[in-house]
């Protein structure tokens, strides 16, 4: 074996790695150590867990903007007319909460399946379909609420209170439709046995957030309209 004359001073690479000042900074797990991209990718945690919080934060900011607009608009005007919320909204609320429960059941079943445990009564896909159905019912129920208000003569431009009602509920419904798209994606992946746990977890977090957001919106509308 040839001798290298200008061998740079070498030390154990591991000790240099550990010198990162903030400790292990949460970098990617590198398997194997030579850094082959394909193998390393297969062992990296998927970034969707961070990304879903980014999405939820953006949605929070958006509704925070609408909320502050509502408060300022109501506070600065004399033309605000209150109206009673359509009672179907409370039924819709139950539907959305129930869908969160069914999704959670499904998520646990999938997790058990991935962990190698036997499925306990009913496939996870069935619970996902039930969640999808409940979600669609919720959006349908919101449409019924809008129709009822229209029948009462309350349109988008009738009064600032109705403007905000349609604005907030429609924006929320659009986001719920986005969540339904996520559920369809998860069901398709599950049927092909290509579903990642992280994808299901991200979808579930989004869906539960839609429920929490709706409870907040209902409280806001109930208090302010």
């Amino acid at each position: 074996m040839a001798t290298t004359i200008h061998q740079p001073p070498q030390i154990d690479p591991q000790s240099l790695l550990d010198q990162g000042r903030s400790g292990n900074g949460g970098w990617r797990n590198l398997v194997p150590a030579d850094g082959d991209l394909r193998v390393a990718l297969d062992h990296s945690p998927p970034p969707s867990s961070t990304a879903i919080y980014v999405v939820l934060f953006a949605i929070t900011m958006m509704f925070a903007a609408f909320t502050s607009a509502l408060i300022v608009r109501k506070g600065s005007s004399l033309d605000w007319q209150t109206f009673t919320l359509p009672s179907i909204l409370y039924f819709n609320t139950l539907l959305l909460l129930a869908s969160s429960v069914t999704l959670e059941v499904s998520r646990r079943r999938v997790a058990a399946l991935m962990g190698g445990l036997k499925s306990q009564g009913g496939s996870p896909a069935r619970w996902l379909y039930i969640t999808l159905f409940l979600g669609l019912l919720f959006v349908g129920g919101q449409y019924v609420a809008w129709s009822q208000l229209r029948a009462e003569g309350l349109y988008l431009a009738t009064n600032p209170s109705s403007s905000f009602f349609y604005l907030l509920t429609a924006t929320h419904a659009l986001h719920v439709l986005g969540g339904l798209g996520g559920l369809v994606y998860v069901i398709r992946k599950l049927s092909k046995s290509a579903l990642l746990r992280s994808q299901l977890v991200a979808t579930a977090r989004y869906w539960h957030f839609m429920g929490i957001l709706w409870l907040y919106l209902l409280l806001l509308l109930w208090m302010k309209l």
Partner: protein
């Protein structure tokens, strides 16, 4: 159902032209697309400023060809006051959104953030592609307003209510023009939110082994902090734009007050709040200033360190200062509304953080200055523009001290003093950051070197030119010259017209100097000297890849990081630096002392 499938779908090297250059999933191509968009937008914005400057200096001068752009705005090439305002609005909107946000953050960030953290791409390449094309569509929609009946909106880039919501009765462009403006900005917001969706997980989750947060280069930190700011700011501006559109097309009354009579017409709206728009807009608007400037701070630090051949006095304090700027930028927005009729106590509350935000800015400048002290700075186009950035940032920042105090701001508000302030601190400084970044990273992006002599000529003409243009603005403001007037007919403004003529000549020359940059860019892209992998003897990961980088950045491998980002002034086998990826142990010069 195993994680092996996780990344099997990760994109393979593209083969078709469309996938390679148009709808590319590669963050590097997307970065270049953003750069090209910013370049086109900057040329349009600059041309508009030329038209405005000529009109301000020689009110009755005909600008040949201007009448072709507009139906009624410039009969015989002489612009009407309304058309002046329309051009001004478009200049501001194009420059703030499609240049100052797009180039330093979206363009350079897209290209270099994944490489600097040691990743093969962004985590969601499809969203990344959408991010660019949505932004591009936003630009097209904005440009389309030039060609609608009465042209683009004239409300200024801040689009104050109620003018933004009254409809065509408000003047040319206040109907369809405003709707297109709001739609364009809403699209832009979506594009930037999709950008943040990629930038944040890239920084947090895709770092190579050994790349702790404190080992990230300052530019990567700047892009990360900016993406967090963008996530908060654009998520508020988008709903505000939706409310404006609803006021136009759905008959709602969010922004137009009751019984408003405009041009002898009683408007049908009732009870809207004009201050509401200002609150929503400036909650976005002030962080936007930092969205434009923080990437510049990171880029400039990165360039200076490489050319000083030593790290900054404190890597950590610089990062914390950028973070402090980001947080404080949300607490100061009310200083844009001191004279809006807002509660005077609110003015006081907003004045205090506004003065406080000068502390992290000052810390950044002091770190730069004292790090530069005694260093043997390598003078090249990139380092010159980095020095220019500091100069502009300080000059523009100092006038901020004056404007931060409500009592002085009441006098200076809506004068050229404010225009001079924000052009220097936000416009020119950020542009210098973009230029510095271009001269520094062009070899890696294009695989060829830029011409240094032309670069230095470009710097000196731009540096002197920018001061000739914007320093007199402060004088004009103190002399009481109000902004947004297309002509100056008042007696007390007559003695100031020669100053305006001087500024116009300076603007024409400085603008023309940018054509040198454009020539250098295009010529070097095709005929420049081929660039080596690491022309500046730099340490960060982008210089450890081949030039130009392969589609997966590191040629089928992920790098391992062994060092802090800026190991200069050391003794190693390659020179006075050691790359982050080198496992070689080095002796630091200051260790010996």
């Amino acid at each position: 159902m195993h994680d092996v499938a996780a990344h099997a779908a990760h994109h393979a090297p593209p083969t078709s032209f469309i996938r390679k250059y148009v709808f590319s999933l590669d963050h590097k191509v997307i970065g270049k697309q953003y750069y090209a968009l910013a370049l086109v937008a900057a040329l349009v914005g600059m041309a508009l400023s030329w038209f405005m400057r000529i009109h301000l200096a020689w009110t009755n001068a005909a600008i040949p060809g201007l009448q072709l752009l507009t139906k009624n705005g410039a009969p015989g090439g002489v612009m009407t006051p309304e058309y002046y305002l329309q051009l001004m609005t478009m200049h501001g909107t194009i420059m703030v959104f499609f240049v100052l946000t797009t180039a330093p953050f979206a363009a350079f960030g897209n290209f270099f953030l994944p490489i600097q953290v040691g990743a093969e791409d962004m985590p969601f390449p499809r969203f990344n592609m959408m991010s660019f094309w949505v932004t591009f569509t936003g630009f097209v929609v904005l440009m389309a307003s030039f060609f609608t009946g009465d042209g683009p909106t004239l409300g200024g880039w801040t689009q104050y209510a109620p003018l933004n919501a009254v409809g065509p009765v408000g003047g040319p462009g206040q109907g369809l023009g405003v709707i297109l403006w709001a739609a364009s900005i809403a699209l832009f917001c979506v594009g930037q939110l999709l950008g943040s969706l990629n930038f944040i997980p890239t920084t947090l989750d895709l770092r190579a082994k050994g790349m702790s947060l404190m080992r990230l280069p300052l530019s990567a930190w700047a892009w990360f902090i900016t993406s967090c700011m963008g996530l908060t700011a654009f998520a508020v501006l988008m709903p505000a734009c939706i409310l404006v559109i609803l006021d136009h097309v759905a008959g709602t009354s969010f922004f137009v007050a009751s019984n408003l009579v405009m041009n002898d017409q009683l408007l049908p709206h009732s009870g809207g709040s004009t201050l509401l728009w200002q609150h929503l807009f400036w909650f976005f608007g002030h962080p936007e200033v930092y969205i434009a400037i923080v990437p510049g701070i990171g880029i400039v630090s990165h360039i200076l360190i490489t050319n000083m051949r030593k790290p900054m006095l404190s890597h950590r304090v610089l990062i914390y200062s950028m973070g402090a700027l980001a947080v404080l930028s949300y607490m100061v927005y009310g200083h844009h509304m001191f004279v809006s009729g807002m509660n005077p106590f609110s003015s006081l509350a907003f004045s205090f953080p506004t003065l406080v935000i000068t502390i992290p800015s000052t810390i950044v400048v002091l770190i730069w200055t004292f790090s530069l002290y005694g260093s043997k700075l390598r003078i090249n186009s990139a380092s010159l523009f980095a020095l220019g950035f500091i100069s502009m940032f300080v000059s523009g920042g100092v006038s901020g001290f004056f404007l931060a105090q409500p009592s002085i701001d009441i006098m200076l508000h809506a004068t050229y003093f404010v225009v001079g302030h924000f052009h220097l601190v936000m416009g020119v400084a950020a542009m210098f950051g973009i230029f510095g970044g271009t001269y520094f990273w062009f070899p890696k992006m294009a695989g060829r070197m830029m011409d240094e002599t032309l670069g230095k000529i470009h710097f000196w003409l731009s540096f002197v030119g920018a001061y000739c243009i914007f320093m007199p603005f402060h004088y004009l403001g103190m002399a009481g010259n109000v902004r947004r007037y297309s002509t100056f007919v008042d007696d007390f403004l007559q003695p100031l017209i020669p100053v305006h003529r001087f500024i116009t000549v300076a603007a024409l020359i400085t603008g023309a100097a940018q054509l040198i940059f454009l020539y250098n860019l295009i010529h070097s892209r095709f005929w420049g000297k081929p660039a080596p992998d690491n022309p500046w003897e730099a340490t960060s990961l982008e210089w450890s890849t081949p030039t130009p980088p392969p589609w997966d950045n590191f040629g089928g491998k992920l790098p391992v990081v062994y060092h802090d980002p800026y190991q200069y002034g050391v003794q190693s086998s390659v020179g006075d630096y050691v790359m982050q990826t080198s496992p070689e142990q080095v002796k630091k010069e200051h260790d010996e002392k």
